[in-house]
């Protein structure tokens, strides 16, 4: 059993937190994990991605091969498409609808949505609004994670436990906000 996930977004949108939570859940299962991150210049408002590989078998490469990902999990719609070369034939694309507009000309959003929904396996949700609705404004990334977990094959309990582990030191309110965001993401249509 293996799960190769490309996490995508713009620097500062919280994809490494998603990676940390999924990683923690995988470790608790006794799984192996490799997770390649982007640091340095590429983080400054540019596109960022993380290769997250989870498996019950030892993992060799830190990088997911092109055409090998089980999922693209993106907190930004256009960024989801940037990694299509990595997506496997049966793979899922899980993306947030809200664009992060920090470039001179952001492309036509409807066309972006069209490209995402053209994929046979996709989930496209308005994670920013959902996060606001459950009063967890800063947990948009966790909403997107919530929408993804059933396609990754982790249970709600596993991810909830991992969220507690990761956010514990930030206080109970942060934990609760993120758990609400997770639940809202799971229920999102």
């Amino acid at each position: 059993m293996k799960k190769d996930i490309i996490l995508a977004g713009v620097g500062g949108q919280g994809i490494l937190t998603i990676a940390a939570i999924l990683g923690q859940a995988a470790i608790k299962r006794g799984w192996h994990l490799k997770q390649a991150e982007v640091h340095g210049m590429s983080q400054r408002g540019g596109d960022v991605q993380s290769h997250l590989r989870l498996s019950d078998q030892p993992i060799w490469s830190d990088l997911i091969p092109f055409g090998g990902a089980d999922m693209i999990l993106s907190v930004e719609p256009m960024e989801a498409l940037r990694y299509l070369p990595y997506l496997g034939k049966e793979g899922w694309i899980i993306a947030n609808r809200t664009p992060f507009e920090n470039i001179a000309v952001y492309p036509d959003l409807e066309k972006i949505y069209g490209e995402i929904t053209r994929q046979p396996n996709h989930v496209l949700i308005d994670a920013d609004t959902i996060a606001k609705d459950v009063k967890a404004n800063r947990a948009m990334n966790i909403v997107v994670l919530g929408a993804a977990i059933k396609h990754i094959g982790f249970s709600v309990e596993e991810i909830s436990d991992a969220i507690r582990d990761i956010f514990n030191r930030k206080g109970e309110k942060v934990v609760e906000d993120n758990l609400r965001a997770l639940q809202a993401g799971i229920e999102a249509k």
């Binding site: 997770q35 982007v38 340095g40 400054r44 490209e115």
Partner: protein
């Protein structure tokens, strides 16, 4: 023991701590920064009083590490690949002095230039210095090799290089720890000649270094990190991998064993004998290595007079530049390659950019206004976030070569008659290697304007302290800049007129001017506020 989830950088730091290190020395640089940051956060390091403060630059860091080794304790100096250019002088000579306490030089290369101005391969430096090199292939090896490097260093009294690359430095995986070793106690070198490289002594030192070479080869032949598996049946091809490349090879065969004889090199010099055996046995050889074709050239050029094909980066089997990945390795082996869909045309590039609210943005826009009558081509810049001032809408700078080059390039251009000649350098970069260039300008009273963009941190690498923090004016004054021509302003839109005016006045002044726009980096400010909020919560 419990598994720790660590970046390659962090695994190496934890390994060094457990191997009884007494001091890390470094200047931040992607992808090496997290080694020392890990040590700075470590309770174990604090309890053991392990040095982990930043140095002014890689040269001062390297020299301090040599000094700690002189005093008998274990030291590691860490840097990015281009940092070794800065530290090259002490580095090369440390191979002659050798080590007293264990001395490890960790260099993180950045193939594909994710955050660098070139992709030079530090193994060439290791070979140049004639010292053993270790190149871990995974996070556990990063940890284990810290022990091994110090052991080798103390056994042969020689500095040892550990070479990392971006994908290992910045990839996280499980690491199992060992029983920690105690630190060395302080002990002066027994041989009073050891660190004394007068020519007469240095000649003996060089002969000694040469005499160690066969022993280094033997160590590599027997190294627990070099895996030599020559018994596979299919000898149409033999494969040599170095470091991380081994993972891609295993990855493309999945759960199946590699059908060809394979040598996994993680310790250099290259294990000669085993490579000869592989060459004799196989019809052709494929070399998979991250970085430049270092091993490939050695094999092609030196060891073999044979005519069998040696494939790799030199003959085009693999791309000559850029990092490896599983797909490139699969293609090199003639295996089926996979690919999803092309990126839809509608997707726009999203290059890195100055953050919203960045103080550099205001400083650049005002500078553009002040110099617009002169046209483009007057602003020399440097290495840091502000290099992004090259991008639209700023289009504010015209060069980026190496740490400190802004000031000295402006000087050279001013000497040639360029007016105005303006240097733009960050506060931390100025500390790293701007001061000596400023001295050159002061010595000749060169007509330059030096803008030190002070965002109160080392921004590009994520917000580290630097040694001249809070002392920039004093430093400039002390070096001899006339106090009337050290100007500061708070870079923000409402100060537009003042900023433009200050730039114009100092451009008009014939001599050395220093302008210091000062406002805190928005990222470090955000982090500070977040910490405050967490504390309150």
């Amino acid at each position: 023991m419990e598994k720790l989830m660590l970046l390659g950088d962090e695994a190496l730091a934890q390994g060094a701590l457990d191997a009884g290190i007494s001091g890390f020395y470094a200047y931040p640089g992607t992808p090496s920064t997290e080694i020392v940051e890990y040590a700075q956060r470590s309770k174990q390091a604090a309890a053991g009083n392990v040095h982990s403060k930043w140095s002014s630059n890689e040269k001062t860091a390297m020299e301090s590490a040599i000094g700690m080794s002189y005093a008998g304790k274990r030291a590691m100096v860490c840097m990015k690949h281009v940092g070794l250019n800065v530290a090259a002088d002490p580095f090369m000579n440390s191979a002659f002095t050798g080590a007293n306490g264990g001395l490890v030089v960790t260099v993180a290369d950045d193939p594909s230039m994710h955050s660098s101005q070139n992709e030079q391969d530090s193994r060439l430096y290791g070979k140049f210095a004639m010292i053993p090199i270790l190149e871990p292939s995974n996070q556990q090896e990063c940890y284990d090799m810290a022990f091994w490097a110090f052991e080798l260093s103390e056994k042969y009294r020689i500095p040892v290089m550990i070479r990392l690359t971006t994908r290992l430095s910045h990839s996280r995986s499980g690491v199992v720890r060992r029983e920690p070793l105690p630190q060395n106690s302080m002990k002066k070198p027994e041989d009073i000649f050891q660190f004394m490289l007068l020519p007469a002594i240095a000649r003996k030192k060089y002969k000694h270094l040469i005499s160690l070479q066969p022993e280094f080869v033997q160590e590599a032949e027997a190294s627990p990190f070099n895996e030599i598996k020559l018994d596979a049946k299919d000898t149409s091809l033999g494969i040599i991998t170095t470091g991380l490349a081994y993972n891609y090879l295993r990855d493309v065969f999945g759960e199946k064993p590699v059908p060809y004889p394979v040598i996994k090199i993680c310790q250099y010099p290259i294990p000669d004998k085993a490579i000869h055996q592989l060459y004799d046995k196989c019809d052709s050889v494929l070399v998979l290595e991250e970085g430049m074709p270092v091993v490939e050239e050695m094999i092609k050029g030196l060891a073999f007079s044979g005519t069998k094909p040696i494939k790799g980066r030199l003959d085009g089997t693999l791309d000559r530049d850029g990092e490896l990945n599983p797909n490139k390795v699969a293609r090199a082996l003639g295996l089926p390659d996979t690919y999803g869909e092309d990126i839809p045309e509608i997707v726009a590039p999203r290059p890195p950019a100055l953050c919203v609210g960045c103080p550099h943005a205001d400083s650049f826009l005002a500078l553009n206004e002040a110099i617009k009558e002169y046209g483009r081509g007057h602003v020399f810049s440097d290495i840091g976030c502000y290099t992004l001032g090259f991008m639209p809408p700023y289009n504010a700078i015209n060069s980026c070569v190496d740490m400190g080059a802004s000031i000295t390039m402006a000087k050279g251009a001013a000497d040639a008659g360029l007016y105005p000649a303006i240097a733009v350098i960050g506060d931390s970069t100025f500390t790293h290697s701007g001061m000596t260039g400023l001295m050159d300008c002061i010595y000749e009273n060169t007509n330059v304007v030096i803008v030190i963009l002070d965002n109160l941190t080392t921004g590009m690498t994520g917000g580290q302290e630097y040694t001249a923090f809070g002392k920039l004016e004093e430093v400039c004054k002390g070096l001899g800049v006339h106090p009337d021509h050290i100007r500061t302003f708070f870079p923000i839109k409402k100060n537009w007129d003042e900023m433009v005016q200050i730039y114009k006045e100092e451009i008009a002044y014939e001599g050395v001017s220093v302008i210091i726009p000062r406002r805190e980096c928005v990222q470090t400010l955000k982090k500070k506020n977040m910490k405050l909020r967490e504390k309150k919560a």
